[in-house]
């Protein structure tokens, strides 16, 4: 019973089920077309496709953390953050995820991991330093609701197709530019070139995945906001956190120009690019709508709302 009240809801489950099935279907069609057209042989094709899927599935959390420049921290490195997450997990009946910190001033957070047991929650230094503890709690509640809802799995799967299609689109473009796949298709001069078929299929797959991702992501965010409100019992703190995070003022860094300049010399990804990862707001519904819904929940809970 307890678990149900934190973010699990029928509407979300249904949408996720439909999205996953449609993505799965899309994936199969995509693989079959590749198999038919490219003639790589069934066994290698299946091995490749499943191999990539598993690689993605098992490394998604690590890849996401790596891409965001997040470092996993142990309890002795960030005792207060760990304690806060432990408390929230106990209330939500979730296993404790890995905790990571991203070293940027811009307040933000994200959750990743294929299931609650292998999840990780990352917050930026700016979030921890610039927000009040209750506000951080509201944001963490939002991220943990994503974990509880297994949103990460859906998004990982969804973005995998988009990624694969993107890679193949580029591959198809290059192949087109540099004259097809050697002699494989030259035995039939009248047929449509193979690279063109791959290109068209990839483009279509890419756009369909993007549409599916967008279709579900808005709803997931509202559900996670509600999950956070129920978990912390104080939606007003998440509201003020969202307002602070989206305010212009918090985009001004605390860092020194000279420090950043020296760091950029050693990193492949410039620090300024990393700080652009506005995860809390990418593919998120407009702030006003989120605040409106949270205010509604707050009123239902009898909480004070400004």
């Amino acid at each position: 019973m307890k678990r149900k009240s934190y973010g699990r809801d029928a509407g979300l489950s249904l949408r996720m089920f439909i999205t996953v099935s449609m993505l799965g279907l899309l994936y199969i069609v995509f693989a079959v077309v590749l198999f038919q057209v490219l003639n790589v042989g069934l066994i290698p094709m299946v091995v490749i496709v499943i191999g990539i899927a598993f690689f993605q599935y098992y490394t998604s959390a690590k890849l996401a953390l790596l891409a965001a420049g997040a470092k996993v921290v142990e309890p002795d490195q960030a005792p207060e953050l760990h304690a806060m997450i432990e408390r929230l997990c106990a209330m939500a009946d979730l296993p404790k995820p890995k905790v990571a910190i991203i070293d940027t001033d811009v307040p933000n957070a994200f959750a990743t991991g294929r299931n609650p047991k292998n999840a990780a929650v990352a917050v930026t230094r700016g979030l921890w330093e610039r927000l009040e503890p209750q506000e951080v709690e509201g944001v963490l509640g939002h991220e943990l609701s994503h974990v509880a809802n297994r949103d990460v799995l859906v998004m990982t799967v969804a973005s995998f197709f988009a990624m694969l299609a993107g890679v193949l689109t580029r591959f198809g473009l290059y192949a087109g530019m540099f004259g097809g796949y050697g002699g494989r298709s030259s035995n039939n001069n009248n047929s449509v070139p193979v690279w063109l078929i791959v290109l068209v299929v990839s483009v279509v797959t890419y756009f369909l995945s993007q549409i599916l991702i967008l279709a579900i992501s808005r709803y997931r965010e509202f559900a996670a906001d509600r999950g956070s409100a129920l978990l912390t019992g104080a939606p007003e703190h998440l509201m003020s956190a969202l307002q602070k995070i989206s305010s212009e003022m918090f985009r001004i860094p605390q860092r020194d120009l000279r420090e950043v300049e020296s760091m950029n010399a050693f990193f492949i990804i410039p620090a300024s690019v990393k700080s652009r990862a506005s995860t809390l707001f990418a593919t998120h519904p407009p702030l006003e709508q989120r605040l409106e819904r949270l205010a509604e929940i707050a009123r239902e809970m009898g909480r004070p709302v400004a």
């Binding site: 212009e248 003022m249 985009r251 001004i252 860094p253 120009l257 000279r258 950043v260 300049e261 300024s272």
Partner: protein, 163 residues
Amino acid sequence: MTLEAELGLKSAGSGGIVFKPLSAGEFVRAENDLQEVLDAVAGESGSRLERKSDEFGYEWIVVRDTDLEDQVATIHAVAQGLQERGFGEQLLAAAFKFEPKFGDGEAIYWIYGFKRGAFWPFVPKGDKERDNAEELELKAKLEKELPIEEDLSRWLALFNAPL
């Protein structure tokens, strides 16, 4: 109308250019070039020029001149001289220091980033914090006067500038 009146700020009488330390391999040549630039500029302007380094290991050319127009002209001349001798990549920023809004408050800085060719305000509060509200106010006030860096995440600080 003077620059000070236009900005609504009173110059603290100093500004400067911060640049990356010169590489060891070319140190002697670079050092000579740098000295030539400084001598040439010093000969033409009434500003006082000083060389300093900071805790980050960066080098500064500090320009002292109570007249803001002259200060800006001298800093521009130094920057140009350095760019002509191939130090363009080395240049990080120019900083102009202004009197605090209230008597004993914190100084106000306008920073010019060479890479993006835009200005941003910097109002430190102690060694690590900054007064973001005041900075946004300065931006709003001077938006029409200066090319301002629109991406706020690039408004990096220059704490303890030796100006």
